[in-house]
């Protein structure tokens, strides 16, 4: 609980002290002591630029500044600014979301994604509430299950189950899409028997009119017209 109550964060400008938001000043002081005491030498002379996280009142700010400078030999160079803490984080967030609005596309997802940098082998199951990105191959007998979409930066030969909670707008995209079986929501398809070697172009599978269809996701590229 109190583990991350006080976190030192290094940036280009210097150290920031990130304070957990729902902590009162007393526990912050306790935590600060716990954190700094054992490695006092290390922190001596450190340049603290500012506090982040919990908004501090003027009195709290001064108190903390005092403790850090007097007891631990740190330097607090920043000045107290009204709500200094939260603004920097908020600024970042607003920047992010506004950049999405500027994109000329629909189909932009800001959902969480799990990244797997590995070959997923037979018998391995990756089940995630969100999207899954596999940087590697998915071998036969492996099972990828996501409540969102699945992207494989390699060859998928195993079973992919996108939208496992019933989201039919999710898709399965792969650099080389040759799954044993594809599932989106509760719709199941399988590769045709007597697997004829297909063109290895990047493809994606999605639901259209209640059925799973597979199509190249770069339809205008020359390589797809072969």
């Amino acid at each position: 609980m109190s583990e991350n109550a006080v976190v030192f964060k290094g940036t280009k400008e210097g150290l920031f002290v990130v304070l957990k938001e729902d902590m009162d000043i007393q526990s912050i002081k306790d935590n600060l002591e716990k954190k700094v005491k054992p490695s006092k030498k290390f922190f001596e002379g450190a340049r603290i630029v500012d506090f982040r996280g919990k908004s501090l009142t003027r009195a709290e700010y001064d108190e903390l500044k005092n403790i850090m400078q007097q007891e631990y030999g740190m330097m607090v160079v920043g000045e107290y600014v009204e709500l200094s803490c939260d603004t920097s984080f908020e600024r970042e967030e607003t920047r992010e979301s506004s950049s999405y609005e500027k994109l000329p596309y629909e189909n932009v997802s800001t959902d969480e994604a799990l990244f797997v940098r590995a070959t997923v082998r037979s018998g391995q199951l990756i089940d995630y509430a969100g999207n899954i990105v596999i940087i590697g191959d998915v071998n036969p007998g492996a099972y990828i299950k996501a409540t969102g979409s699945i992207v494989v930066m390699g060859t998928i030969r195993g079973v992919a189950h996108a939208g496992s909670k019933g989201d039919y707008s999710s898709f399965v995209a792969a650099y080389n899409l040759q799954p044993t079986q594809l599932r989106i929501g509760d719709i199941i398809t399988r590769s045709p028997d007597g697997t004829a070697s297909r063109l290895s172009v990047p493809e994606m599978a999605l639901v259209r009119k209640g059925a799973i269809i597979v199509e190249p996701y770069l339809p205008n590229k020359d390589s797809n017209k072969l």
Binding site: G123, G141, Y143, D193
Partner: protein, 267 residues
């Protein structure tokens, strides 16, 4: 009430899965209703050998855990009407099922099918105990190698200790030319050690590899020597008295066996 036959060997790689697939397909070719059960949870292969991997939605563990009904998990073979497969789970392990659950499953299947063929995993641990739990008949597969025969012997002992009397033996991957040269164990030696009934000798056959990779059991292939041998095994399993069984104690067994295979080949 159908028969529940477990196909086992102890040692891995001697051809349990191939044998299961071929016997099952052969029985269904004879007009019997058959279900193949893959008890090799976590290392399933039978679905691949049968070419049914891409049809799996539910598996044995789902049935046992009650996630689905038994009927939903059964996969109908793509060529033969009265042949079904109950696939193993791949993302679980042998401990996902216990022997009493397997016993009930086999009983349920035996209600509906004339033959239930259980493909046993290699080893003598939980997977083996699960696979034999519901069986009332057993087939032991071995190859003409000392290690495989040693393991088969151990398995026969365990089967008998678990109430499966009179296991039947299939000798797989026999190379007649090597036996003649004395480079391979001969059939009489193996029977001498194992002392159980022989119901088939399957010669080493390249077509087995081809058919395994294609997902089409060799027994349906008229040109395959091994396929012919499996057809004989199937008839013996059904209680028929097929010739070369009577030859086993004969001194001229090998030559007559070879002659028989030669003859069959022409057909």
């Amino acid at each position: 009430m159908g028969e529940v036959i477990v196909v086992t060997s102890g040692k891995g790689g001697v051809g349990k899965t191939t044998t299961t697939a071929n016997i099952g397909t052969g029985l269904s070719l004879q007009g019997k209703s058959v279900v193949l059960v893959d008890a090799d949870i976590g290392l399933r292969n039978l679905d691949v050998v049968m070419g049914l991997e891409n049809r799996i939605v539910y598996d044995l563990v789902d049935v046992v855990e009650g996630t689905c009904r038994l009927r939903q998990a059964l996969i109908k073979d793509k060529r033969f009407n009265n042949l079904y497969l109950l696939p193993a789970a791949q993302t679980k392990d042998k401990n996902a099922v216990n022997p009493s659950q397997m016993q009930k499953l086999c009983l349920d299947l035996a209600e509906e099918f004339e033959y239930v063929i259980v493909d046993c995993p290699a080893g003598i641990e939980q997977g083996f105990r699960n696979a034999i739990a519901g069986a009332n008949k057993s087939v032991v597969v071995t190859t003409p190698e000392v290690s495989a025969v040693r393991d088969a012997d151990r398995i026969i002992g365990l089967l008998e200790a678990n109430g499966l009397k009179n296991p039947q033996l299939i000798i797989n991957r026999l190379r007649i030319d090597m036996v003649k040269r004395g480079d391979m164990m001969n059939i009489d030696d193996m029977i001498d050690i194992l002392a159980i009934d022989l119901i088939g000798v399957v010669p080493d056959d390249e077509l087995i590899v081809v058919s395994t990779n294609r997902g089409e059991p060799a027994i349906a292939n008229e040109a395959s020597l091994a396929g012919q041998a499996y057809r004989n095994v199937v008839r013996r399993l059904m209680g028929e008295d097929v010739p070369f069984m009577n030859l086993e104690s004969d001194s001229g067994f090998m030559s007559r066996l070879a002659k028989m295979f030669g003859f069959k080949k022409k057909k």
